[in-house]
Symmetry: C2
Subunit: 335 residues, 2 copies
Amino acid sequence: MTQLPTTTRQIVLASRPTGWPTPEDFRLETVDLPELTDGQVLVRNTAMSVDPYMRGRMNDVKSYVPPFQLDQPLDGGAVGEVIASRGDIPVGTQVLHGLGWREHAVVPADKVSPIDTARVPDSAYLGVLGMPGLTAYAGLMAVADFHEGDAVFVSGAAGAVGSLVGQIARLSGASRVVGSAGSPAKVQRLLDLGFDAAFDYHDGSVTEQLKQAAPDGIDVYFDNVGGDHLEAAIARLNLHGRVAMCGAIAQYNATEPTPAPRNLALAIGKQLTLRGFLVGSYSHLADEFRSRMTDWVAAGLITVDETRREGLDAAPQAFIDLMRGANTGKMVVTL
Amino acid sequence: MTQLPTTTRQIVLASRPTGWPTPEDFRLETVDLPELTDGQVLVRNTAMSVDPYMRGRMNDVKSYVPPFQLDQPLDGGAVGEVIASRGDIPVGTQVLHGLGWREHAVVPADKVSPIDTARVPDSAYLGVLGMPGLTAYAGLMAVADFHEGDAVFVSGAAGAVGSLVGQIARLSGASRVVGSAGSPAKVQRLLDLGFDAAFDYHDGSVTEQLKQAAPDGIDVYFDNVGGDHLEAAIARLNLHGRVAMCGAIAQYNATEPTPAPRNLALAIGKQLTLRGFLVGSYSHLADEFRSRMTDWVAAGLITVDETRREGLDAAPQAFIDLMRGANTGKMVVTL
């Protein structure tokens, strides 16, 4: 039996960010690993996820997930290999679990899910086949009630969720797929992914650019941004249009309320539906999603986009850069 | 055969209001009545409706109903008696139709609906059994997906629609019914109608007053107002709460954008649904609605609230007063 580690490195929350997070809000620590007890496994993490929703957990407010605690390790999606086991998961199994932000994790065996890395790389389970993928799929199909022939607009379209929303819509018969993003390179990337039109929101009014990009209006808006994007979408939505409200990254780091859609009353005459959602409420779609997505990825119909950073030391900056939009596709930290 | 009238008096749109309408925006005219042609009936109107949605039709903008035309008669819901007929509706029939704002109307026979005035007065077909009633019923039941046990908040609750929303919710097993209105007398009226709590929005922050009135939160918000009421409701809605966006009277006469709900991003974590609607999309519920409502009214379970004005000359001021909230229940002009 190879020597098992007795310590691990982990990232703890050193202080709660006010507005934008900074490196000083994080601290790298080395801590002892406890002995395994019955029902636990030891996982050597190979990759961990940084996600926008983690920003909310850094505030000390009641929300849909409990806040991170000061001086305690952060957590989140991670994949790795079981290297010791006192549960019914054998050593050597590749697994997905919720204790990222550390190199080794002691996890109850019933909180890890074995993953199949034969057809797709392990990190795909943090992105296209994981929570961001299900978010895109459930948000488009169930929340926004997508139907073949719909014109779809997605904001934050170069991100982990947005790039999948556009690709799933295209594969599912959208009449037009439009995305917005934050740089010329991302706009080009969206066109490469098969979006019919894309624009950089820095280039002018979102309302005007969306009008150019979707001259016949839109039926579905997948909102990752909030603020001016939501206002522009409301103006552009056709009768009976639907909005899946997934994120409001424009507001995550704001210390004052951001602009609200001043034209929300248009929702009456247009009979729009705006629906906020959390992916956790759509786990009943997970099997259907994973089956379809695995086929799409294996057939090369969906492009797996990742931005990778290397090493636990790089994780805080990877998260900060994610909030600033430095990534294309899923931001992953390999360990 | 009694002498039939050869002329009628009608109200025309003299000018398009900027902001709040004034008496000068209307003009009373006497015009010749055309001879009936095949398939037409002549109706002596006995009552006509003034409704908030008419304000939108006074603007020259594309909307869900065409705008009123300058120097042309206004129109809207009316009830009356057929006094001449070249269609298959016999003389003497009591009917509901769409050519109000005049004393006599020439209407295609297939555009009038016979009404039963044995159990309810004719004007009820303009209110509790008419468009406002169906708006309340469909908005609560279908749009907001009301379920027994839900706590319901309705704004503009003393109006034609709002007073019915609260009463229908109460009859359908709401755990709590809260209304807001614009005067102490209206608040008292809501309590008399069986609302569990009611407040005057002039008395302070809507958010604070709603918190007092609904300490355990709300599940459904029926929005007749928009603006600060919608923001307050979003703050107070429970997980999976629903908003039926019916009207935004705060904005109808505004010449600048009114405040938008700055907290709309809360809809994500709370997984709220906001849905705008027009009653015209819910005509499939009309039979069910009319049957249930007739029973409720006949059994005295729903109070028919009307504010009446008398004579066509009074119609413009009745409309202006309606926009200012002078009415309790349905504003009706008897002719």
